[in-house]
């Protein structure tokens, strides 16, 4: 029992990483109706920016704030420059644009900051929380920040005119345009927002997994899995999905005898696929209804 609890808490701690990323994934999905496969690399790039600023002797929070702001601008710029021209191309062609962006960012990160693994400071400290040894203060802080971010986004999308306009632009671009919403800019805004969230995720994750150009590759995949498990149409579901993936992965690795560490990712994915069999749009996702 003790071990079960411990593994669940440890799963929650890693799950927090996935949840943060899943939230970023769902945000961009809501805004542009695509998964952004380059999101992890964008987040890594932002984290490197923050690392560079801290190296220059800036205070943590100044670097944090400026990085999030710069990331927002980068996101908007990428949409305007790279993705607007291909918006009418087939979906799969746009996918290639994401892969290209991924490749460019990953390679540039390595060239600018090289591939050595760097440690990243945490504002919450890394001591065990309450001295229990189950979860560190940083991980607790990460969970807290993720939940605060989720609450803020909820308020923004439900409560503000801009949030409503963004949702309208994603749900029905033509109708949104007819009522005077500038759909193109809403999409750009969605890009900016999701890149900024990605930056927050990257900065929070870096103290745990350490910073290098490939830092986000695995994390994004888990975040993707969490988002799909929770349902791509539900930000809250995505966060829960992220936590669930972390817990499933940990429990499978510990308690299923033949699995061990080498197969735990496989088992986590099989569980997710099994859940999807029952709920094809994710646990909290709305099933889309389309008119024939």
């Amino acid at each position: 029992m003790e071990q079960l609890l411990q593994q669940v808490v440890a799963g929650l701690a890693t799950g927090a990483i996935y949840a943060t990323m899943a939230l970023a994934v769902v945000m961009v999905y809501q805004a542009i109706d695509h998964l952004n496969f380059a999101q992890g690399e964008l987040a890594t790039f932002s984290t490197f920016l923050a690392w560079q600023m801290i190296e220059w002797g800036w205070s943590y929070w100044a670097a944090f704030a400026l990085t999030v702001a710069i990331s927002f601008v980068i996101g908007v710029a990428i949409d305007r420059v790279l993705f607007r021209p291909v918006r009418n191309a087939p979906i799969l062609s746009q996918l290639v644009a994401f892969i290209a962006l991924f490749s460019i960012l990953n390679s540039s990160d390595g060239e600018i900051w090289n591939f050595t693994i760097k440690s990243f400071p945490s504002p919450f400290g890394t001591k065990p929380l309450f001295g229990s040894g189950l979860i560190s203060t940083h991980q607790a802080g990460m969970v807290a920040v993720t939940l605060v971010m989720l609450a803020l986004l909820y308020v923004f999308f439900r409560g503000s005119r801009l949030g409503l306009a963004m949702r309208a632009a994603a749900a029905n671009p033509e109708a949104a345009r007819l009522v005077g919403i500038r759909v193109g800019w809403m999409i750009a805004l969605g890009w900016g927002l999701s890149t900024a969230i990605g930056a927050v995720a990257g900065i929070l994750i870096a103290p745990v997994v350490f910073l290098d150009p490939n830092m986000m590759l695995g994390v994004l995949l888990y975040g993707f899995a969490g988002a799909v498990l929770g349902g791509l149409s539900s930000p809250g579901g995505a966060v829960l999905g992220g936590f669930a993936v972390g817990i499933i992965e940990n429990l499978a690795g510990t308690f299923i005898p033949f699995v061990g560490q080498e197969l735990k990712l496989t088992v986590a994915l099989i569980v997710i696929v099994a859940v999807l069999m029952v709920r094809p749009a994710g646990i909290f996702g709305r099933v889309g209804v389309s008119r024939v």
Partner: protein
């Protein structure tokens, strides 16, 4: 023949994407001519280039075949897959195990075996895939791509798969009496398999079954309403697609003479996908162009800049997508339509009596 002319013009005025240029019988003939020329070039090539280039060209054909498999599923049936690296890997391992172990099968028999194994696995994956669409299907197939290298490495199968070490296989000898070396022979062997498989795919796509497969892609509900058993066709397409990619994998194992778990990871799936899109979605010859891209462009990028090769690769990809948003095949199609229009425009400058005759 005024009527015929009218039909031709009508058909050309409503471009149905795949058929923009086809109504012109002239172009059809030219197309056959092009295919013939390509086959002849393919036959002559290994006699004039170096052995390493022969190896590269063989790999181009193998990737082209794997991409064709993905194309049947994604391009023609509209089902998304990030799991084709797994089918390629299963095909490769089937061939390697059959050739190296106690079975000691001759290499040519491993192809049908790999195809059969992958067909069955494909059906097994295709059945649950019926429930999923779009990104959810992408995740499910992605799970397959992630699972395969881990399964191959796991101690459960280590005895058969050789674990992390992989399996080394011998290069097959050319049949006695032929004045060619082993590389050339493998090239011709691959070319023969490729031609058969491509012809079969072209036949499949043009058949009644092929039309059903495409109808499901274009409008699943309408297809079902017309009496197409969508579940059966979707599952079957999954199987056939896996069969193609699996045979490509088996050929790949024979040509590279080595299989190891990590060469069949998720990135291989991404490569197939990139090849598919760059070559042209739902274009059969486009798949071969995709193979050329997947094999050569990363090398070119590496030559331009070692440190930034990924960035160069990305920029090339972006340029291609900006220039040819529907892939090389779409580009060729549009160029052909444009040429045809030019020709028609110059024809109409002639006296009216001639062009309507």
């Amino acid at each position: 023949m005024p009527e015929r002319e009218a039909i031709t013009l009508d058909a050309a005025a409503v471009p149905s994407e795949a058929d923009v240029a086809r109504p012109l019988s002239l172009w059809l003939d030219r197309r056959r001519l092009l295919i013939g020329a390509a086959v002849i070039a393919g036959l002559v090539a290994p006699l004039v280039v170096a052995n390493f280039t022969i190896f590269q060209l063989t790999m181009v054909m193998i990737y082209g075949l794997a991409i064709l498999g993905l194309n049947l599923l994604t391009g023609f049936n509209g089902q998304f897959s990030l799991g084709h690296s797994a089918f390629y890997g299963i095909g490769a391992y089937t061939a390697a195990i059959l050739m190296s172990g106690s079975a000691d099968l001759p290499y040519y028999w491993t192809l049908p075996c790999a195809g059969a194994v992958c067909f069955i696995v494909g059906i097994a994956i295709g059945l649950p895939a019926l429930r999923l669409q779009g990104l959810y299907l992408a995740l499910a197939t992605f799970a397959l791509a992630v699972a395969l290298p881990q399964l191959l490495k796991s101690h459960l199968l280590e005895e058969m798969t050789g674990g992390v070490q992989g399996i080394v296989i011998d290069k097959p000898d050319p049949p006695a009496g032929l004045p060619i070396n082993a590389d050339q022979w493998l090239y011709y062997f691959t070319l023969a398999v490729l031609l058969v498989m491509f012809a079969a795919a072209a036949g499949l796509v043009r058949s009644r079954t092929g039309r059903a497969i495409m109808a499901i892609r274009d409008h699943p509900i309408a297809a079902a309403a017309m009496g197409i058993n969508t579940a059966r066709y979707k599952t079957l397409t999954f199987g056939v697609s896996a069969l193609y990619t699996g045979i490509a994998g088996a050929l790949g194992a024979i040509v590279v003479q080595f299989v190891a778990p990590d060469s069949f990871n998720f990135l291989l799936s991404v490569n197939f996908l990139v090849g598919l899109i760059v070559g042209g979605i739902s274009s059969i010859p486009g798949s071969l162009f995709g193979g050329v891209f997947v094999l050569f462009v990363p090398n070119i990028a590496e030559k331009v800049s070692t440190g930034l090769s990924g960035a160069v690769y990305g920029v090339i990809l972006l340029l291609l997508i900006f220039l040819m948003p529907s892939g090389a095949a779409g580009f060729v199609r549009r160029a052909a339509a444009w040429l045809a229009r030019l020709r028609r425009a110059s024809n109409s400058e002639l006296p009216i009596g001639r062009s309507t005759r």
